[in-house]
Symmetry: C2
Subunit: 294 residues, 2 copies
C-alpha cells in the first residue's frame, strides 16, 4: 500500500470513530449535536489524529486502542477553529469551502459547539482507561490540557490577536505558531507515544520530530496563502496580506521561508531515524506536509 492509500485508510478509520463517539444528530438536544457534526465532518485532513496513531505505531503500540485520544485531538482542533471563525475573532464566513458554523447555526450555537467539542475531547481521553493503565491516561490528559490551554493553543491565539495589524518580530511569530499550531501537533505525537509505551529516548525523538514538523507545516501554510490555488485550499488566497498578518514569508522573504521549511522538515525526518522502517509513515507525513498544495 502506498502512502496516499494508507493516509486515506487511516483518515477513514478516524472518521468512523468520530461518528461513533459524537452523539448522533437525533440525541436531544439535537441541534447542538447536528452542529458539532457539521464542523467535524467538514472534510478536514485528520492530521492530528493520524499523528497520534502514527506515533503509537512507531513505538510498536496498539493503534486501535489509541483511537479515542486520536479523535480527541481532532475535537480540540475543530473547537478552536469554530471559535476562531466567530465574528468577534477572525470573522470568517467560509472554512474548508463551506459556510462556517456560526453562519449556519448562529453565533450562540457556535460558541456552545466549540465548548462541547472541547468537553467531549476530555471525556474521550478519560474513556481510554478501559485500554490503558490509568496513570498513563492521566499523564496524557495533562499533556493535552497543557497544550490546549492558556500556555499552549489559547496562548498562541491570544498573541495572534494582540499582533493583528501590527509589525511583529520573528520571535513573536514563532511564539504564535509554536503555540497556536505546534502545541497540538506536539501533544498528538506525545500522547500517541506515551500510550504506545515509548521509552524516554523514543519520546524525546518523537517530540523533536513534532516540533520541527509543526514549524515546517506553518511555514508551508503561509506560503500556500501566497502561492496556493484558491479552489484547492478552500479559502481566498492572499488573505494574510489583506489582513496585514505577519507571516514567515512577510518577515523572512519567500525564498528564505522556503529554505526554513525544508530545513525543519529535514530535521524532523532526521530525529526519527532511530525507529528505522517503523517510522516510515511519519517520514511520509513530513514529505506530504511540505509538498501539499492545500
Amino acid at each position: 500500500m502506498n502512502f496516499k492509500e494508507e493516509l486515506k485508510q487511516w483518515s477513514q478509520k478516524v472518521d468512523e470513530a468520530l461518528d461513533r463517539y459524537i452523539p448522533s444528530s437525533d440525541a436531544y438536544p439535537s441541534v447542538i449535536h447536528e452542529a458539532m457534526r457539521y464542523s467535524i465532518f467538514a472534510g478536514g485532513k485528520r492530521l492530528r489524529p493520524i499523528l497520534v496513531l502514527a506515533a503509537t505505531q512507531a513505538v510498536g503500540g496498539n493503534t486501535e486502542k489509541v483511537m479515542p485520544v486520536a479523535c480527541a485531538m481532532e475535537l480540540i482542533h475543530t473547537y478552536s477553529l469554530v471559535h476562531d471563525d466567530l465574528p468577534a475573532m477572525d470573522n470568517d464566513d467560509f472554512r474548508r469551502g463551506r459556510p462556517t458554523n456560526h453562519k449556519v447555526y448562529g453565533e450562540a450555537m457556535a460558541i456552545l459547539v466549540g465548548d462541547a467539542l472541547q468537553t467531549l475531547a476530555f471525556e474521550l481521553i478519560a474513556q481510554t482507561t478501559e485500554s490503558f493503565e490509568a496513570d498513563r491516561v492521566n499523564q496524557v490528559t495533562l499533556e493535552i490540557a497543557k497544550a490546549a490551554g492558556s500556555s499552549g493553543l489559547i496562548g498562541g491565539q491570544v498573541v495572534d490577536i494582540l499582533s493583528e495589524n501590527r509589525d511583529i518580530d520573528g520571535d513573536t511569530l514563532e511564539y504564535i505558531h509554536r503555540h497556536k499550531t505546534g502545541a497540538l501537533f506536539r501533544a498528538s505525537i506525545r500522547a500517541g507515544a506515551i500510550l504506545g509505551g515509548a521509552t524516554v529516548n523514543q519520546l524525546a525523538a518523537l517530540t523533536l520530530y513534532a516540533e520541527q514538523m509543526g514549524l515546517a507545516f506553518q511555514i508551508k501554510d503561509d506560503l500556500l496563502d501566497i502561492e496556493g490555488d484558491e479552489a484547492k485550499i478552500g479559502k481566498p488566497v492572499g488573505s494574510d496580506i489583506k489582513n496585514q498578518k505577519s507571516t514567515y514569508p512577510s518577515i523572512y522573504g519567500i525564498e528564505e521561508a522556503k529554505r526554513m521549511a525544508t530545513e525543519a522538515a529535514a530535521e524532523a525526518v532526521n530525529a526519527i531515524k532511530i525507529f528505522n522502517h517503523k517510522a516510515e509513515f511519519l517520514q511520509d507525513i513530513m514529505h506530504f506536509i511540505i509538498n501539499r498544495d492545500h
Copy 2:
C-alpha cells in the same frame, strides 16, 4: 464554629487554592491570565467547590487533596458564565455587580477566557493523580466531562436558548435546570464522594441529595429574581419577566414554587441522614441555599 464561619473559611481556602492554580497575571500572555482572574475573583459563593469538599468530608476523605477538583468545578462554572454573558448569548453587561468579562476585555478575549478556564479545569483534575489512584481520577474526569458536555450543562444551555421568548412546559423547564445548573452540582458532589472513597450506598445518597438540592437552588433563584433585593443579588430584579423567560414561579405560581423548593430541600436533607453528624455541613448548606437573599 458556626456554619457561616465554616462556610467563609472554606470559601477562603478555595480562593487561596484558585490563586495558586491559575497562572499569575504576569505569566505570558498576561492579558488572558488577568482576564481569567477577573472573572474567577469576582466574588462568587464557591458553592460547587464547597460541595466537592463537603461530600469528601461526609465520607471521611481528605479534603485537602480534593482541592484541585473542587477548584476545577469553579473554573467550569465560571467559564460557562463568561460565555453565557456574551452578546450572542444573554448579552449581560453586569455579573455579580461588576462589568462582565467581555465588557472589560472584549468579546474575543472573553471567548478565549472561557475556553482556557475549561481547559485548566481538566488540567487540574488530571493533576490529582499525585494524591489518588489514577483510575479513580479518571472516573471523576469522566463524570465531570459528561456533566459539563452536550448532554449536561451545555445541553441545558441549548434548550434554554431554544426556549427564549416561548412558552415552555414544566418538563422542559426541568430539563433546562437539571442540566444547566443541576449537572454541575451533581458532579461536584459525586466527584468529592468518589475521591473521598464513598461506598455505593453513600454515593447514591449523596447523588440524591445533590439532585434535590439543585432543584431547590434553581427554584430559589427564580424566586429571588421576583422577590429579591437588587443590591444584594447584583443584577436587576425582574430580568426573567423582562426577558420573557419561563421560570418555576411563572409556570407554577409563586406559592406552589415555594412549596416545591421546600419539599426538595427536605428530601435533600432526608437523603443524607445515613451520614449522621458527618453530613451536618451539607444539611446546613441546604438550609443556607433555601434561605439565602442573594
